[in-house]
Symmetry: C2
Subunit: 205 residues, 2 copies
């Protein structure tokens, strides 16, 4: 690399809006709008108002951006899982903590979670993400099993179905939740979701 | 139309697998696989193993197939709504009946509901479908309001959020439910969904 090229990159790195973080933020937006397959590096460059080469300075392929974006959602979930597992409390309490953690990730990393939930496993990166997602689902299922053995979760519904309905309810939030325009205030979205998921709609008689 | 052409169509009409119903069934499959925009009449013809002209005998445009497919889901929901409204019972009972009706439509018309849930409003037909969907959502919201006034639905969660979480849970079923391979037997999917939605995961203490 010539001294001039290196200088150019140093300047680029220092320029706000051109660092990897900004590229990633725009990439996840464009992937969500057009679908990953439909979005080209050209599209990203246009949206950022920079040359394609400036993106290739950060990543060698579009798939790297996909991997980083999916990891951002999955790392969030993994962190929530770790915190829930470390808790010295009954499984039902750890499960509720996990649901709250998942909701927090959804609120703070919405575009990344949206992208993750649309992944169908067409590429190696997508399949790796689906495998991490499944291991998260297995944790939810095992906490649920434990809570059921403790007598804290209803036994009249298949536990797999229960886990799927719970995940479905939580994940559906990406369809309508927009940060800053929450209709849930002053009750947090996590409180609302936990109240409905654990306590149900109906007022107990 | 020449006598020979009419004869050809008569034969086609009589031939199993070539009536409008079969065309529609295949169309909704192809739309779900490739996305409506990505699916061409050529794709449909290939899948059916017939000439494009044989499809144009039934419909003049691809959008007509979309409209018919979306209506199949929406008519199902409208029927469930009508039956729930006719019921002489408290709002909470009518709401549960509506949830059961929605689940039944989901089970029997899965590909049509899947297609409906992916509609984003890109065309006139899609916008009309979204409007019908919104009027269904308004009914759910109004039943919920009434049940809340009756003291039957918890008042600690915003009613819009409650309605969205409930719809989200029910609609998420399209992601994993496959007719005939239900893990819910002997408890029906509708029973499971109602138990979780109305009663919650947690065993009441």
């Amino acid at each position: 690399m010539t001294a001039t090229a290196a200088e150019g990159i140093r300047r680029q790195r220092g320029r706000p809006g051109y660092d990897l973080e900004s590229v990633l933020q725009v990439a996840v937006q464009v992937f969500n709008e057009r679908g990953y397959d439909g979005a080209s590096m050209e599209d990203l460059a246009k949206r950022l108002g920079i040359a394609k080469s400036a993106i290739y300075h950060h990543v060698s392929r579009k798939e790297e951006l996909l991997r980083m974006a999916l990891d951002r959602a999955l790392d969030g979930w993994a962190g929530a899982a770790e915190r829930a597992q470390e808790l010295d409390a009954p499984a039902i309490v750890r499960l509720e903590m996990l649901v709250r953690g998942t909701m927090a990730v959804l609120e703070t990393r919405l575009p990344y979670v949206t992208l993750l939930l649309r992944v169908r496993g067409n590429t190696e990166v997508e399949r790796a993400a689906l495998e991490r997602r499944r291991s998260f689902d297995r944790l939810v299922a095992s906490l649920m099993e434990e809570a059921r053995r403790d007598g804290d979760i209803r036994a009249d519904v298949d536990s797999k179905v229960t886990a799927r309905l719970l995940s479905g309810m939580i994940n559906s939030v990406v369809e309508w939740y927009r940060p800053g325009s929450s209709p849930t205030a002053p009750v947090s979205l996590a409180d609302s979701a936990c109240a409905i998921a654990f306590g149900g709609l109906r007022v107990p008689r």
